[in-house]
């Protein structure tokens, strides 16, 4: 699951910069608005009156945004809820229910990770689409219809501030969306559990006794029955301890009663399938071919932005600097032998050889204070497999001299020495470096910051599911905010279209940012249009001429406009947590807090803008 650098920031790291940026954008919009208002007033009534109008607008803004009545806002919200119910919004829930009733027929439970298909491809996207549509239609249609039906006349002739009308709408529709989303969440949760729930049977006849060569003990080995398109290999040792193979991202607890042919085997439901891992991420940097520190590795052309690559059998290395690796985070009672390091590696081969064979890599631990560096393990890496690499609490290695040669005792045998992970390799405040190198020449390892993390504990999956719903809820609240704001000055169909534009623009915000920065292939909008209609690829240079010059000029003009648009569009992707939930990673509290503040950061100016447009609108025209 790709995690962008944005997601690693703590709230404390993010907030000062984000707030300054927000304040700057808001300041620009406010000053721009006042200047525009002033010039419009000058044209209409002359400069003296314009000063008075602008002054009064500022005074009214302060009063109307501060002297709010919760009772009035709640009353308006209540009417918005009633109106929504009258408009049969419950149909949305019915649609979801029908979808969940029949979707089970089409879910492929035999896939490698059925939970990802179920949650990430069906339940969350369905809820996302339905809540977006709900927010879109309710918010953009309501106010214009109230104005058209003149029900708003009766409301605005009461002591109601325009800011209260806007806030009341937003809160009312958000309340409707919350109720529906909660109901859909419960149904979605039940659907997920029901879809993924399965068990296997195991009988004595399915197990065969095997004796390990050179050992007195024998093992019972076999396979469970097939269910949900898979079987698990089972190994039971002489003491009766059973190991059920991890398959499709889960295993099962096995209980044995009785002995021999009379023994009965009971397999529980799936285990470790619906989890919420709490990762401890480190900061990633690289060593280049000369062994110097570098921000990035090499570009193999396989993957350009997210991952960087290190070359095998050289000095190149990927180094993660971890913090918070303490005894408290990994108590001995829970982690008696080792602490788990989850590692995902992209393998890029310049010569294929046997593609089924893993490429050798090595992991080292280094104490950043003392500089002590110890080899933790050598392993074989296969393309994109997430493997748990247990880092032993006690690491035994061959002692080496200053030149790196093994030290031998009087009998010529290599001398071993033991290091304690927390005493020797981790600093007292919990810092440690993990070095990764590819050991085979001509092969490359690719990695991103999120590809290595220490897995300290699991959070509640139910809570993580709810956090995923919160992400959808925040996106819905954004849609409602934009819809209500736009509907204060646009007619219903135009407000609807404008809100759709915001949603689409927000979803593709990163692309618009790249477009404005000239980072996209194929040029700006005009150049791309020419390429599209003349069927030219993105790389080839356009034929010089008037058409090309005109397109490039228009693109140059469009760039600042695109930049400005991208600054005020919400990045909906930042609020999407469904990958976290479906891939089994806990949604970080800091991430939620950042999203909540972003939501407020949008809703606040949207309310002010909605207030301003409604205040300056002749409701009775």
């Amino acid at each position: 699951m790709p995690i962008e650098s944005y997601d690693f920031q703590t709230f404390a790291e993010w907030f000062p910069g984000a707030f300054a940026y927000w304040a700057a954008v808001m300041g620009c919009l406010l000053v721009g608005g006042l200047i525009t208002g002033f010039f419009v007033s000058v044209l209409r009534s002359g400069p003296m009156r314009a000063v008075e109008v602008v002054g009064r607008a500022v005074r009214d803004l302060v009063l109307d945004m501060t002297l709010l009545s919760p009772r009035r806002i709640l009353a308006l919200a209540w009417v918005a809820v009633k109106e929504a119910v009258r408009r049969r919004v419950l149909v949305v829930f019915a649609l979801f229910l029908v979808l969940m009733l029949f979707a089970g027929w089409f879910i492929n439970t035999a896939s490698d990770h059925p939970e990802r298909v179920c949650i990430g491809r069906l339940v969350f996207p369905a809820m996302w689409v339905l809540t977006f549509l709900l927010g879109l239609f309710l918010s953009s249609m309501s106010l214009p219809l109230d104005i058209k039906n003149r029900t708003l006349h009766t409301v605005v002739t009461k002591p109601v501030r325009q800011s209260e009308i806007v806030l009341g709408r937003i809160l009312g529709f958000a309340a409707v969306g919350t109720l529906l989303l909660a109901a859909m969440g419960v149904i979605g949760w039940l659907f997920t559990i029901r879809t993924l729930s399965h068990t296997h049977t195991l009988t004595a006849g399915q197990l065969k006794e095997e004796t390990t060569p050179g050992s007195q003990t024998s093992l019972l080995k076999g396979k469970t029955s097939a269910a949900s398109g898979h079987q698990h290999a089972v190994t039971i040792d002489a003491s009766g301890e059973a190991v059920v193979e991890m398959k499709q991202g889960h295993t099962h607890d096995l209980y044995i009663e009785g002995e021999g042919d009379d023994a009965t085997y009971t397999l529980e439901g799936p285990k470790d399938q619906l989890v919420a891992r709490v990762p401890i991420y480190g900061k990633l940097h690289f060593l280049d071919r000369a062994g110097n520190e570098a921000e990035k590795g090499v570009n193999t052309g396989d993957e350009w932005t997210y991952r960087s690559f290190i070359e095998g059998a050289g000095r190149m290395a990927a180094i993660w600097e971890f913090k918070g690796i303490t005894q408290r985070a990994f108590p001995e009672s829970e982690f008696p032998e080792s602490i788990p390091l989850d590692l995902t590696i992209e393998v890029f081969r310049t010569h294929k050889g046997d593609v089924s064979k893993a490429v050798a890599g090595g992991l080292w631990l280094r104490n950043p204070d003392t500089g002590l560096k110890v080899e933790a393990q050598v392993f074989g890496a296969k393309k994109f497999s997430r493997d748990v690499r247990p880092i032993p609490r006690s690491i035994e290695v061959f002692k080496k001299d200053a030149k790196g040669k093994p030290v031998k005792d009087a009998n010529g045998r290599p001398v071993r020495e033991t290091y304690d992970l927390f005493r020797d390799l981790v600093t007292p405040d919990g810092r440690v470096e993990v070095w990764l190198q590819c050991l085979e020449g001509g092969q490359y390892f690719g990695m991103a910051r999120a590809d290595a993390y220490f897995h300290a504990r699991d959070a509640s999956f139910v809570l993580n599911f709810v956090k995923g719903l919160l992400g959808i809820w925040m996106q819905m609240a954004l849609v409602i905010g934009f819809g209500v704001m736009l509907s204060t000055f646009l007619s219903a169909p135009v407000a609807l279209l404008a809100t759709v534009f915001v949603i689409v623009g927000g979803i593709f915000r990163d692309f618009i940012v790249d477009l404005a920065a000239g980072k996209t292939y194929g040029g700006g909008p005009w150049e791309s249009a020419i390429r599209l209609f003349t069927q030219q690829n993105q790389i080839v240079e356009l034929e010089p001429g008037l058409r090309t010059s005109a397109a490039l000029t228009f693109d140059t003009i469009a760039k600042p406009a695109l930049w400005m648009i991208s600054r005020v569009l919400p990045a909906f992707g930042n609020f999407e947590f469904d990958d976290y939930v479906s891939y089994g990673y806990a949604v970080d509290g800091d991430l939620l807090l950042r999203c909540a503040f972003q939501l407020i950061g949008f809703l606040l100016p949207l309310t002010v803008a909605g207030y301003f447009f409604l205040k300056n609108r002749e409701v009775a025209r």
């Binding site: 009417v79 009633k82 029900t151 605005v156 002591p159 109601v160 409701v619 009775a620």
Partner: protein, 303 residues
Amino acid sequence: MSAQVVVETRNLTKVYRDFWGRQKVRALKALDLEVRQGEIFGLLGPNGSGKSTTIKLLLGLLFPTSGQALVFGRDATDVTKNERIGYLPEESYLYRFLNAEETLDFYGRLFNMPRAVRRQRTADLIEMVGLNWAKRRQLKEYSKGMTRRIGLAQALINDPELLLLDEPTSGLDPIGTRDMKRLILRLRDQGKTILMCSHLLADVQDVCDRIAILHQGELKELGRVDSLLKVRDVTEIRTTVLSEACLKEIREVVQRHKGEVQMVGNPTTTLEELFNKIIEESEAHPGRRVRGVEVGGGGRNAH
């Protein structure tokens, strides 16, 4: 004329423009008006004369092109003035999915009224407009007359000092019209100021103290109703029924004084008055056919 000025317009002008700013209609031209506390003021005029525009400008639903609209001395766009205002629109623009109780409770909340006060006020107003039997029905099930009544109740929810009534009797049957007019007079007696606009001249004549007549956005006449309607070159004497001999004598006296008797006879009442009398009689004696209702000597056309 020392009563406090409640509504004032100064050179109030409204021009409707199209999207491009071109003038479409000059709806109101330099209107100067004053409405004083405790009077019933009527705005009269044919359709498109600027009556509703004036009311909407006073409510802040429209913005003046030039001039000023002041209510209680404040600009009409000042939201705080609405705390002392009640407004009955031409059509009752209410949420049709609410019932009568919910409607009044909602508007009471908009006035920040505490729950207990809202409940009491809602019950009183529903009782007053005679909708107790239908208070739980959604407004979409209401007849036009019932909707007007609940509209009036919402206008009174805050016990306003100033009532703005846009065509208050529109859509009401004769009894509803009579009740509305009685209510308007009663509210005036309670010290409230009422500004109403209507093109039903009889209604205005019955209740208004002063009227302004608008035509094509211009003020054409302004003054007290009784003064404006006085026919100064005709003398009217109203007596109980007289004998033919007495009438002959009166004619001779008039001729002797160089006067001209224009009409002698029994006055007629209005159809509205007759209808109301019949309904009152019917309600007093249900099931009996009403015959020969005597209408009192208050007829408008007695000579």
